[in-house]
């Protein structure tokens, strides 16, 4: 393995946040990461930099100063309109070689988890996936990266001493976004796209953003999830109404997905998505281990089930014993309209 000497390592400074840009907009996870980066940079006595790659993003990039960025590197080019992993990886590698950050973090989203592993391999760096905790080791100055493994049953702390930058993807909604400080300024560094960056330009033919916000499990404060107990598509319409009233998303157990009541994108669990939300309301889900590993880190878990003895009713913070078809409509009625 190519390891760096102490002197080589000391050339790497500052904490970088790779912004999540979606349809030309900088996503909320970027603000969360800037909050985490601020703490790390303060512990290292260094700066927070944000890297924004996209098309027409220059103006928005400046807004990151308010969330704690000291400098913002902007690569604004029409060829970055859609997410092309290979191109963004080339750009990042080039920027890393030029500016030598000590730490680089990015959201553990489908895009981040496609992009950063590519960058880590090319730059001979280690990468820790899906972190939920970041800290600086006061003895060595190394980044300590904590992440769940085995479906959340073990927390592992990982260090990457001999390589720079130290890289991690960070789970959305775990770090708190700082309040915006209006008037805070950052230096904007504009970098062009090089010809070599686009040597592997795959064609994106179509982008489909679901206007049904109900699918976006990663960004929701509340998830209303249904299982076999929901009985069918109509049952999920009921859950959608509740989710809409709470401003949340709809999740599902594998049994409900396999029955064809709701698309796979909603599935929570071992073979679906892992979610960590403020409130998880499980309706008619028994809570087999494969489901639990996907939602057990949520702050408040509510279960509604006729059967008081299911695994989920045992582990929930609030277990409501009863028929979901009677309780959920009552709840929808009881919630004041926004």
């Amino acid at each position: 393995m190519i390891t760096l000497t102490d002197i080589e390592r000391s050339a790497y400074k500052n904490v970088w946040v790779v912004a999540e840009v979606l349809a030309g907009n900088i996503e909320a996870v970027t603000h969360e990461l800037l909050g985490a980066a601020r703490e790390l940079a303060d512990a290292r006595g260094s700066e927070v930099w944000a890297v924004v790659m996209g098309s027409g993003v220059t103006e928005q990039a400046g807004s990151l100063a308010a969330f704690g960025a000291d400098r913002v590197v902007v690569v604004d080019d029409p060829q970055l309109t859609d997410f092309v992993d290979e191109v963004e990886a080339e750009v990042l590698v080039r920027l890393i070689e030029k500016h030598k950050p000590e730490i680089l973090i990015c959201g553990a989203t489908t895009r981040g988890r496609a992009l950063i592993p590519r960058v880590a391999v090319i730059t001979n760096c280690g990468l820790t996936a899906d972190c939920t905790g970041l800290a600086i080791d006061s003895d060595t100055g190394d980044l300590l990266q904590t992440r769940p493994a085995f479906g959340g049953n073990i927390m592992a702390t990982i260090r990457c001493s001999n390589h720079r930058p130290q890289m991690a993807t960070v789970r959305p909604r775990v770090m708190a976004a700082p309040d915006a400080q209006e008037g805070r300024q950052a230096e904007i560094i504009t970098e062009p796209l090089n010809q070599n960056d686009t040597r592997q330009l795959k064609k994106i033919l179509e982008v489909f953003h679901s206007d049904e916000t109900a699918v976006n499990l990663a960004d929701a404060d509340v998830i209303v999830a249904g299982g076999r107990g929901v009985k069918g598509r109509e049952g999920f319409d009921l859950l959608r109404q509740l989710a809409a009233r709470l401003g949340g998303a709809v999740g599902a157990s594998r049994a409900a997905v396999d029955a064809g009541w709701i698309p796979y994108a909603h599935q929570v669990g071992q073979t679906g998505q892992t979610v960590q939300t403020k409130v998880y309301i499980a309706c008619g889900i028994s809570g087999q281990i494969q489901h639990l590993v996907g939602m057990q880190s949520s702050d408040l878990i509510i279960a509604i089930d006729k059967d008081p003895d299911t695994p989920l009713m045992q582990m929930a913070d609030v277990a409501v014993v009863g028929d979901l078809f009677e309780i959920v409509p009552e709840l929808i009625r009881a919630i004041p309209k926004l």
């Binding site: 393995m1 859609d82 992993d85 290979e86 989203t109 489908t110 988890r113 592993p117 590519r118 960058v119 880590a120 391999v121 001979n124 760096c125 280690g126 990468l127 996936a129 899906d130 769940p148 493994a149 085995f150 479906g151 049953n153 073990i154 927390m155 592992a156 702390t157 990982i158 260090r159 990457c160 795959k202 064609k203 994106i204 033919l205 179509e206 489909f208 953003h209 679901s210 699918v215 976006n216 709470l246 698309p263 796979y264 679906g272 409130v279 880190s297 702050d299 408040l300 878990i301 913070d317 609030v318 277990a319 409501v320 014993v321 009863g322 309780i327 009552e330 709840l331 919630i335 004041p336």
Partner: protein, 262 residues
């Protein structure tokens, strides 16, 4: 089309322990299974071969007993299998694992497509697929939920995102990782089972794949696990709510108010 499917043997239970001394997963005593996501990669490869011709090779890196998942792949219908097994591979992180697998793919030669599962359920990293693509300098498509079209030069696929999906044209050679919704995996046939008992599975050592041993195993891995611990416990008490639907709804509303959700 020449397709390699990377498959991993993982512990079956979700409460595996880690040895506090070695910081390695204690694999003894746990039933080992084929990583669930890899069953979708295998199925996709077999369907592509059956439709467009060519061959499917299953590839795994792991201890000698990982051979079992390769035999399972044969019983499902892949044409051949290769195991990377040697002490030098032990303790590899995703950088070193994707390096070893990429060396093996290069050694196989003439490969058009590499398929991986979205992630392995033990490490949950989802890093090995894109890592292989980077080592090979090939293009990639991750979280693939559908194959729309296959041309001579490449494939058109749908990539799943949190907020929807996109459709992209990926030229060969390429690496793709697949999610569960892409297909329904078949079960082994009797003929397949018999074939899996007979087949000879070669074991490739680092020298066989021209790998630099300095880049393999624990020493070749940039990351180090320094500590493992159980996750913070959840509050042990469960608040039970029973009563009429209206009482239940009101009690729930109270809980949601406490959290400022409504």
């Amino acid at each position: 089309m020449k397709i390699v499917v990377c498959i991993k043997q993982v512990p079956a239970t979700n409460d595996a322990k880690i040895d506090p001394e070695t910081k390695r997963i204690i694999r003894e005593g746990l039933k080992a299974i084929l990583n669930p996501f890899d069953t979708y990669a295998l199925e996709e490869a077999i369907q592509l071969r059956d439709q467009f011709g060519g061959e499917v090779i299953a590839l795994s890196m792991g201890p000698p007993k990982a051979e079992a998942v390769l035999r399972e792949a044969i019983s499902l219908g892949v044409d051949s299998a290769i195991l990377l097994s040697d002490r030098a591979y032990g303790g590899s992180d995703t950088w070193a694992t994707s390096y070893a697998l990429s060396r093996a793919i290069d050694t196989i030669g003439g490969v058009d497509l590499v398929l991986c599962g979205k992630q392995a359920v033990d490490g949950d990293t989802a890093q090995v697929g894109p890592g292989i693509a980077a080592h090979l300098d090939w293009m990639q498509a991750t979280y693939v939920m559908a194959v729309d079209e296959v041309q001579d030069a490449g494939m058109t696929v749908k990539r799943m995102h949190e907020d929807g999906y996109d459709v992209c044209e990926v030229p060969f050679p390429a690496v793709m990782t697949v999610v569960k919704g892409i297909n329904t995996p078949r079960v082994p046939t009797l003929k397949g089972r018999l074939a899996s008992l007979k087949i000879d599975i070669p074991v490739w050592k680092p020298a066989d794949i021209g790998a630099d041993v300095e880049r393999l195993g624990l020493d070749g891995s940039p990351t180090r696990v320094v500590k493992t611990q159980p996750p913070p416990p959840r509050s042990s008490s469960t608040k039970r709510i029973e009563g009429s639907p209206e009482e239940c709804a009101n009690a729930l509303l109270h809980e949601l108010r406490l959290r400022s959700i409504v």
